[in-house]
């Protein structure tokens, strides 16, 4: 059974049907791309999947559980984590603390034991530190662990956002234009990193991207969105050669 099963998802803003009849089915450990021209509704799909918007039609099943219409927090707990097109970090917090916020729901101690520094606090904080540092190592950020997130260069900020999302131990990772603003070198490193994350964590990844080199390089399957509707879907090479897709991108 597919990890993510979406049927007939849709939402309207005012009179505008932003997303309509959206279907997608993503297998476990797949690397799946969602592409389409600007304004096609890709980010809106992400917002629907993560509960930022409530869909007015359709059904979303994650690993067999119905998560349609749940709020962002419930959906994150159910196992979807994401990054944002315009990076959203906790700017004044350190890199380490950004990841530790991601670990928030995986480790518990009471407010009282935090304020009184009871043994529970020390034990759990130590575990969180260790786990966060491990993640930072994966994303090659351990050297900047104590730097404020806002002081990181752009490429590292993007990586930190992915690290933070991974800290919530998701089943499905959504990446919204992870390569935006990167130079070809950085994009190359990013591609390696995405592949590595998938293999190391057996992660299922759905990403939005405009960089066709990245898309054709790492995505196994694609769905093309145009005017809020699915234009076509299938294997990456087939989709990219589909004359319909070429027309959608280049115009008539």
């Amino acid at each position: 059974m597919a990890l993510l099963e979406v049927k007939n998802l849709g939402i309207s803003f005012g009179g505008l049907r932003a997303v309509n009849g959206f279907d997608i089915s993503i297998e476990k450990e797949a690397l799946y791309g969602l592409i389409g021209p600007n304004g096609a509704g890709k980010t809106t799909v992400f917002n629907l999947l993560t509960g930022v918007y409530k869909p007015d039609s359709g059904k979303v099943l994650l690993d067999g559980t119905d998560i349609t219409g749940k709020n962002t927090i419930e959906i994150n707990k159910a196992g979807i984590a994401r990054t944002f097109q315009n990076i959203r970090l906790f700017k004044q917090l350190s890199v380490l603390d950004n990841v530790k916020v991601g670990l928030h729901n995986k480790h518990h101690y009471s407010t009282l034991s935090g304020v009184l520094r009871l043994p529970g606090y020390r034990k759990v904080e130590k575990e969180m530190d260790e786990q966060a540092m491990e993640l930072l190592k994966v994303f090659n950020l351990e050297d900047v662990a104590h730097v404020a997130a806002s002081n990181l260069p752009y490429g590292q900020q993007r990586r930190l956002e992915i690290a933070r999302a991974m800290a919530t131990e998701p089943k499905l990772l959504l990446l919204d234009e992870p390569a935006a603003g990167m130079n070809p070198n950085e994009t190359g490193e990013l591609m390696d990193m995405i592949r590595f994350v998938r293999e190391k964590f057996h992660m299922t990844i759905l990403l939005i991207e405009h960089d066709m080199k990245l898309v054709s390089g790492i995505c196994e399957k694609l769905t093309v969105l145009n005017f809020g509707e699915v234009l076509c879907e299938g294997k990456t090479s087939d989709v990219l050669n589909d004359p319909q897709v070429v027309t959608a991108y280049l115009g008539e």
Binding site: T43, N47, V52, F84
Partner: protein, 294 residues
């Protein structure tokens, strides 16, 4: 009969709130900031008018003109010096706290210059007003002039914003600063103009307020300023007719609250209105909804 006279008093007080609220709502709509010092500009305007009349012995008309000029300049200066540098600040709290500072600065400067004692403000309106129903219902000249001034100001402002070139620029800037700039609109100039208009209205409101309630202290403007903001939120922030309706309703609520519930609780009632509006319909009566982009 007392009901009608409370109602008229309420509309009159509400008209003053409405004039202040018009300034508030325009500034909020365009600069997206809560100009806490707006109420204190009212107080400065009233003091200016008082000085012009008492010390310089000039006519009430000239006093109003002087107050308007001083407040307009003051409004532009405040915007330039205190608010403009923070327009692109990373925290929206920055400009709000600065505005509180400006409000305090104006109050305490006035305190040092004019003293803490209340000064009696001579009404600028010499007309006795109307006596209806055989003397049972008296409407003062101040009341009538205030209500009339408010209606005229609102209509002129609406025409200005809808029809004139600078008015269209204002609407453009309030929709999208960046896009307006790209279309060749002078954003800084437009914002300064908005502050100028708002402050000029504050001067008028100050004179009318003190003509009706003739006691002037450095704190005279603070409460009406905050209440006018309540009125602007009530009517829907950014909306000119909203500020008008909000102001009138708030004035009526306050006077009725004083008369029928408790005079000590009048302010609390006004603030309760604000809380209820913001919790039930944060966009106010005539405002529109803005959704945060993700």
């Amino acid at each position: 009969m007392s009901f009608i006279s409370y109602l008229i008093n309420g509309i009159s007080l509400g008209s003053v709130y409405a004039i202040i609220a018009l300034g508030y709502t325009m500034v909020y709509g365009i600069a997206k900031m809560l100009n806490f010092a707006h109420g204190d500009v009212i107080m400065i305007g009233a003091y200016m008018a008082l000085i012009t009349m008492m010390k310089a012995g000039m006519s009430p008309i000239l006093a109003i003109v002087a107050a308007v000029i001083v407040c307009t300049v003051l409004g532009i200066l405040i915007e330039r010096i205190a608010y403009k540098p923070l327009r692109n600040a990373s925290s929206s709290l920055a400009v709000l706290i600065t505005a509180i500072g400006v409000s305090y600065l104006l109050q305490n400067t006035a305190l040092l210059v004019f003293g803490a004692n209340a000064q009696t403000f001579p009404s600028v309106i010499k007309w006795k007003g109307l006596s209806l129903a055989g003397g049972k219902l008296n409407i003062s000249g101040e009341t009538i002039v205030t209500i009339a001034a408010c209606v005229v100001i609102m209509i002129v402002l609406m025409l200005f914003v809808q029809k004139s070139k600078p008015g269209q620029a204002m609407r453009a800037v309030s929709e999208d600063k960046g896009a307006a700039q790209l279309m060749g609109i002078n954003v800084n100039g437009t914002i300064a103009l908005t502050f100028a208009i708002g402050s000029a209205l504050a001067a008028v409101a100050g004179v009318l307020l003190c003509s009706a309630y003739p006691s002037l202290t450095p704190y005279t403007g603070a409460m009406p300023g905050i209440k006018a903001f309540v009125a602007a939120v009530f009517g829907g922030i950014g909306s000119i007719p909203g500020a008008f309706i909000g102001g009138i309703l708030l004035g009526v609520i306050e006077i009725f609250g004083k008369a029928y519930i408790s005079s000590q609780m009048a302010d609390a009632i006004v603030f309760a209105v604000l809380i209820i509006v913001l919790l039930v319909k944060p966009t106010g009566l005539l405002g529109k909804k803005i959704q945060e982009k993700v």
